[in-house]
Symmetry: C2
């Protein structure tokens, strides 16, 4: 999760909402990513999508079985769906997304639609740090306006 936080900090430096993700397989970090939506003007480029894209390319496989994704913020439905589609076995997040409704992330990951379930765990020891970097970012943004 520390590496995911480093990614979030990279996003912050670029003026992006500070969210980072890393993918680990067999104890090795195989991909990392941070939010690039504004810079690249692309709605798809959340941290998780960037990391999954890199991991698929690295492994030459759309199946990321037995791999885990660490992300600083609970994923949005697009990213939760991507995590499920890529068959990641576990998703570990830092901060809870307080704007999420209807517990969609958990529902998407635990849907048996794909004959696959992804375990969802909060790394509570990182909750404050993952949440604070977002709070600070939005506070600074508001003060600029």
């Amino acid at each position: 999760m520390e590496a995911a936080l480093e990614e979030a900090k990279k996003a912050k430096k670029k003026g992006e909402v500070p969210i980072g993700a890393v993918i680990v397989k067999d104890g090795k970090m195989i991909a990392k990513g941070h939010n690039q939506r504004e810079k690249k003007q692309n709605a798809l480029l959340h941290a998780e999508i960037v990391a999954i894209n890199k991991a698929c390319k690295k492994l030459h496989s759309w199946r990321l079985d037995d791999a885990e994704i660490y992300v600083t913020l609970e994923p949005c439905p697009m990213c939760a769906g991507a995590i499920a589609n890529a068959r990641l076995s576990k998703m570990i997040y830092g901060a809870k997304d307080k704007t999420s409704q209807d517990e969609l992330c958990g529902k998407i990951l635990s849907s048996i639609r794909l004959n696959h379930k992804c375990e969802m765990v909060q790394a509570e020891e990182f909750e404050n740090e993952c949440s604070q970097i977002l709070t600070d970012f939005f506070k600074a943004k508001r003060s600029q306006n």
Copy 2:
């Protein structure tokens, strides 16, 4: 939807699950895409994601406001989330996804999480054709095994 079906046929020719999508803005088709998951070995490359990626690049914007996406099959959670994140105003689908659970697609599109709602409509006149191309594909695949 006819153009989306043409895209689905392109996917079929490549041995991909035949699903196609097109994005229309101001009456003009601005992007199209078909499923490329197997060929590119990338879990993200569903028809909708390919089309949204192209549309963002074409408009140099992550916001696809006032644009509509036509897709031959009801989107999975990843694609429904991407459609919501890109602020598409309307999603028109051909065949219903019989494997989807808990009406996740509709829930994701109608979530007010993003202060944006995407209208979801079935083009019932295309349901049979959009569904048949999928049925034929899986039937042929099973007979090969």
